[in-house]
C-alpha cells in the first residue's frame, strides 16, 4: 500500500507545473480568451509536439506514451491550477477516453495517433436538457437520433454545452434510436468535424477560459465505420467515458482550489492594514485554514479516483468503483473550488472584484466546472440512489 506519487509521476507533475507557470501567465490567459478559438494554437502545437502531453495515456501501439490515469490527473491538476486555455480537456479527457473505451481497433488506429500528434476532438451528447432540473448529464439527456439507412446511419438533432465544439477537428457524437429513452438505444459515432450537415455555433460564455458550442446535425450521413461499440447499446460505455472525464475535471478543480488558496495567502501576507499584515488576523487565517482543508481533502479524493480510473481502463479490481469515486471526487471538488474561489475574492477585497486581477477568472471557471458534468448536488443524489434506494441487503 503506497498511496503517493512515484518519482516518475512527481517528475511529470513538476515539469507540467514549471512549464505552465511560465506559459500560462495572466497576459497569456487574457490573450487566449480574446482569440478566435479560445487558445493559443502555437502553444498547443508546442504542447503536442515538444511535450507530447495528449499522447500521455494513449497506448504505445497507437503512438502514445502508454502511461496511466494517475499521470494524466497529475498533469490536469496543474492545468486547472494555471487556468491553461487549451483544447486538452476536450481532446484527451473526452476524445481520447471515448476512443479508448468505445472505439474499434480500426478507429483507435486511425484517430489516436492523430490526437496524439495535435489534432483536437470533443464529445457531444447532451442537449439543453442537461441544464434541466439542476442538471441531467447522463444518457437520458441525449435527443439526437441515429437511423440506420442501408449500411449508413443518418444523424439528426442538437447538442449543447459541447466543450471546444466549434474548433475541434474530430467529433464523437452520441445519438439514440428514434423513440428510445433513457439508457436505451444509445449509439456513439466518431466523425470528422467537417462532415456535411454539421453546423457549429460558438456560445459566448461567462467563463472565457473554456469555449462551449452548440451543434446542429441536419441529415448527417455517416458510414458504418464511424460506429463505435455496439449500435444501440453504448450507454454503459458513454457513462464510463463521462465518469473518466469527471475524474479529470475534478482534478482541474482541485488544482484551481489550491491556486485560489495560494493567491489568497500571498495577497493577505502582503496587504497591510491597521499597521500589520492582514494575514495575521484570525478572521483571515481561519478562512485560509478552511481553504487548505478543502484543497487537501479534494486532493485525497482526486488521487484515489485517479487510481480507480486507471483500473477502470485496464480492468483492475477497483474498476467497479469508478462511478462512485467519480461522484465523490466531483461533488467534493466542485464545492471546494467554488468556495475557495469565493473566499479568495473576499480576501482580496476591492481588487478581487476587478477585471485586472485574476481572481475573477478562477471564480468564473469554478462555477462553469461545477455545473459541467454535474454539480455537487447532482453527484450526491447519484450516490444517494446507490446508498438509499437499492433493495439489496448487503
Amino acid at each position: 500500500m503506497e498511496f503517493r506519487f512515484t518519482d516518475e509521476q512527481l517528475m511529470i507533475r513538476d515539469t507540467a507545473q514549471q512549464f505552465l507557470a511560465e506559459v500560462s501567465t495572466s497576459e497569456a490567459i487574457r490573450a487566449a480568451m480574446a482569440s478566435e478559438h479560445g487558445y493559443d494554437a502555437q502553444l498547443w502545437q508546442q504542447i503536442c509536439q515538444d511535450l507530447v502531453w495528449p499522447a500521455l495515456h494513449i497506448p504505445e501501439q497507437y503512438e502514445g506514451m502508454g502511461l496511466g490515469y494517475v499521470e494524466l490527473v497529475a498533469m490536469v491538476e496543474q492545468m486547472g491550477r494555471y487556468l491553461l486555455c487549451s483544447p486538452f480537456f476536450a481532446t484527451v479527457c473526452l476524445g481520447v477516453n471515448s476512443l479508448l473505451v468505445a472505439g474499434t481497433d480500426a478507429q483507435k488506429a486511425r484517430w489516436l495517433p492523430q490526437l496524439a500528434a495535435g489534432k483536437t476532438a470533443t464529445l457531444a451528447w447532451c442537449d439543453g436538457r442537461a441544464a434541466a432540473r439542476g442538471g441531467c448529464w447522463d444518457a437520458s439527456s441525449i435527443s439526437a437520433t441515429a437511423t440506420a439507412e442501408g449500411d449508413d446511419f443518418i444523424l439528426e438533432g442538437e447538442y449543447r454545452y459541447v466543450v471546444d465544439g466549434a474548433s475541434a477537428d474530430v467529433l464523437i457524437l452520441a445519438a439514440r434510436l428514434a423513440g428510445s429513452t433513457g439508457s436505451q438505444g444509445v449509439s456513439l459515432f466518431v466523425v470528422p468535424a467537417d462532415t456535411v450537415g454539421i453546423t457549429r455555433e460558438l456560445l459566448p460564455a461567462l467563463d472565457q477560459t473554456r469555449r462551449q458550442a452548440a451543434l446542429r446535425l441536419d441529415k448527417v450521413r455517416v458510414s458504418a465505420d464511424a460506429l463505435m461499440a455496439q449500435p444501440g447499446q453504448a450507454a454503459t460505455a458513454l457513462q464510463t467515458i463521462l465518469d473518466l472525464a469527471t475524474v479529470a475535471l475534478a482534478a482541474e478543480q482541485m488544482g484551481g482550489a489550491q491556486q485560489c488558496l495560494d493567491m489568497a495567502v500571498a495577497y493577505t501576507k502582503e496587504r497591510s492594514q491597521f499597521g500589520r499584515s492582514i494575514a495575521s488576523f484570525q478572521a483571515i487565517k481561519h478562512k485560509a485554514a478552511d481553504m487548505m482543508l478543502r484543497a487537501e481533502v479534494a486532493r485525497s479524493g482526486v488521487y484515489y479516483a485517479a487510481c480507480v480510473a486507471q483500473e477502470a481502463l485496464e480492468g483492475g479490481p477497483l474498476a467497479t468503483e469508478l462511478a462512485e469515486a467519480a461522484s465523490i471526487a466531483k461533488s467534493y471538488c466542485s464545492d471546494a473550488y467554488f468556495k475557495n474561489a469565493g473566499e479568495c475574492l473576499q480576501m482580496h477585497g476591492g481588487v478581487g472584484f476587478t477585471w485586472e486581477y485574476d481572481v475573477h477568472l478562477h471564480s468564473k471557471r469554478a462555477k462553469a466546472s461545477e455545473h459541467f458534468l454535474g454539480t455537487g448536488a447532482y453527484h450526491r443524489e447519484r450516490l444517494a440512489q446507490h446508498l438509499l434506494d437499492q433493495e439489496a441487503a448487503e
Binding site: M1, K269, A279, K285, A289, M292, S300, C307, R380, L388
Partner: protein, 397 residues
C-alpha cells in the same frame, strides 16, 4: 500509487479477523460495538477483562517495538489491526491512553528504569492511564498550567499541588501523566516537568464531571501534596513541554483508520434508520447522507496519504495530516446532527426516565466535544494557518 495490501498483509488481516471472531464472543458478546467515545461509562468491568484477553493474545500495543513487549507491526499491519478490530465491533479500549500516549512517550523519552517499571503493565492490559494536561485556566492556552511540582529532598519525592480538568477516565486509571511547573517563577512553555503519578494515594482526589449526556467520562483531578518518586519525572525538570508535545509531531495517525471504521458503523446505523423511517425519501436528508458518505470515504483516502507519506525531517506534519483533526471532528459533529434529524421528532423522546439515551441520541450530544478537546477547531485553524501556510502569529496580549 498502489492501493492494495500485500498478500502477507492480507493474510495478517485474516489472522486478526479470525482471532477476534473466536474471542469476541460468549461473555464478551454484549460489549461488541460498546464503550467507544460517548459510551465509555458502559461495561467498564467487562472491558477491563477484555483488555486482559486481548493482551494474552498479543494484541495490545501492536505497533510498539518487540523489545518493549509490543508486536512490532508495520504501519500496514497496524492499519489492518485497527480496521479489523473496529469492523468486528471490538469494544472501546480501556487501555488506549496508556497504549497510545503514555507508553510511546515513555519509550521515546523515558529512562530504562521507567520503561521496566511502566511498560509491562500497559502491555498486559492491567495498568490504566489518564492524561493530566488541561486545567481550569489552561485549555486552549495549555502552556498556562499552574499545577506546581516542588522537589522535597528529605522525602526524595516531587510534591504536586494543583488541579487538572477534563481528565478522561481518571476514575478508572492507576496512573496519570501530569505536566506541572517545576520552576515556580516560570511561565509559558518553560519551567515545566512531565510526571508519572500514582492515582491511588491520599493526595489525589477525583471528582466526576456530569456532561451534556448526563453521564461522566471526564473528571476533575485535585492534587494536594500528592507525591511522585524522584525517578518518575520523564526528561529533566524544565523539559516537560518538549516531552508532552514530542510525540504529536511524529503521530502518523495509524489508529485513525480504526476510528473511521467506527464512524462507518455509525453512518451505517443512520442510513439503516433513514431507510426504515422514510427519511431516505427527503431530498435534503439524501444530500446530507451522501455528503457524509463522500467525506468519510475521502477521510480514509486522506489517511492512506498520511500513512504513505513522510513527515518532514523536523517531525513537522504533512498538510494532509495537519488538517486531519479539524476534518474528522467537524465531520463527526455533522454526523451527530444528521442522526438526530433522521430520527426526527421521535429522536426527542428518551428511552426511559430520568435520562436514558439511545446510542444515536448519545452520539449526537457527545460529538459536540470532538470539536473542542485535543485542540478546538479554532486552535486547529490557527495551527494550520501558521504551520501549514506560514501566516503570521497573532500578536500576544
Amino acid at each position: 500509487m498502489k492501493l492494495s495490501f500485500s498478500p502477507a498483509d492480507e493474510q495478517f488481516r485474516q489472522e486478526v479477523a479470525q482471532w477476534l471472531n473466536e474471542n469476541l464472543r460468549g461473555e464478551f458478546e454484549k460489549i461488541r460495538f460498546r464503550g467507544g467515545p460517548g459510551d465509555e461509562h458502559m461495561f467498564q468491568h467487562e472491558r477491563e477483562q477484555w483488555e486482559k484477553v486481548l493482551a494474552a493474545g498479543g494484541w495490545t500495543c501492536v505497533g510498539w517495538p518487540k523489545e518493549y513487549g509490543g508486536r512490532g507491526c508495520s504501519i500496514e499491519q497496524q492499519v489492518i489491526f485497527f480496521e479489523e478490530y473496529a469492523r468486528a465491533g471490538g469494544p472501546g479500549r480501556v487501555g488506549h491512553i496508556g497504549e497510545g500516549l503514555a507508553g510511546p512517550t515513555i519509550i521515546a523519552f523515558g529512562t530504562e528504569a521507567q520503561k521496566q517499571k511502566y511498560l509491562p503493565g500497559i502491555v498486559a492490559g492491567t495498568d490504566l492511564w489518564c492524561q493530566g494536561y488541561s486545567e481550569p485556566g489552561a485549555g486552549s492556552d495549555l502552556a498556562n498550567v499552574k499545577t506546581k511540582a516542588r522537589f522535597d529532598s528529605e522525602k526524595n519525592k516531587w510534591i504536586i499541588n494543583g488541579q487538572k480538568v477534563w481528565t478522561s477516565l481518571a476514575h478508572e486509571a492507576h496512573y496519570c501523566f501530569v505536566i506541572a511547573r517545576t520552576d515556580p517563577a516560570s511561565s509559558g512553555h518553560k519551567g515545566l516537568g512531565f510526571f508519572l503519578v500514582k492515582m491511588d494515594q491520599p493526595g489525589v482526589t477525583v471528582r466526576p464531571i456530569q456532561q451534556i449526556t448526563g453521564t461522566s467520562e471526564f473528571n476533575e483531578v485535585f492534587f494536594d501534596d500528592a507525591e511522585c518518586d524522584a525517578n518518575d519525572i520523564v526528561g529533566a525538570p524544565g523539559e516537560g513541554w518538549k516531552v508532552a508535545m514530542g510525540l504529536l509531531g511524529f503521530e502518523r495517525g495509524v489508529s485513525t483508520l480504526g476510528q473511521q471504521m467506527q464512524f462507518q458503523n455509525e453512518l451505517d446505523d443512520v442510513i439503516a434508520l433513514a431507510r426504515r423511517n422514510g427519511a431516505a425519501t427527503d431530498p435534503v436528508i439524501r444530500q446530507r447522507i451522501a455528503k457524509a458518505h463522500t467525506e468519510l470515504k475521502i477521510m480514509r483516502y486522506n489517511s492512506l496519504r498520511m500513512l504513505s507519506g513522510q513527515s518532514g525531517s523536523d517531525g513537522s506534519l504533512q498538510k494532509e495530516a495537519l488538517i486531519y483533526k479539524l476534518y474528522w471532528a467537524t465531520w463527526h459533529r455533522e454526523l451527530g446532527e444528521l442522526a438526530i434529524d433522521v430520527l426526527g421528532a421521535e429522536g426527542q423522546i428518551l428511552e426511559a426516565a430520568p435520562y436514558q439515551l439511545s446510542r444515536l441520541q448519545s452520539m449526537y450530544l457527545f460529538v459536540r466535544s470532538d470539536t473542542i478537546y485535543g485542540g478546538t477547531n479554532q486552535i486547529q485553524r490557527n495551527i494550520i494557518a501558521e504551520r501549514g501556510l506560514g501566516m503570521p502569529k497573532e500578536p500576544r496580549g
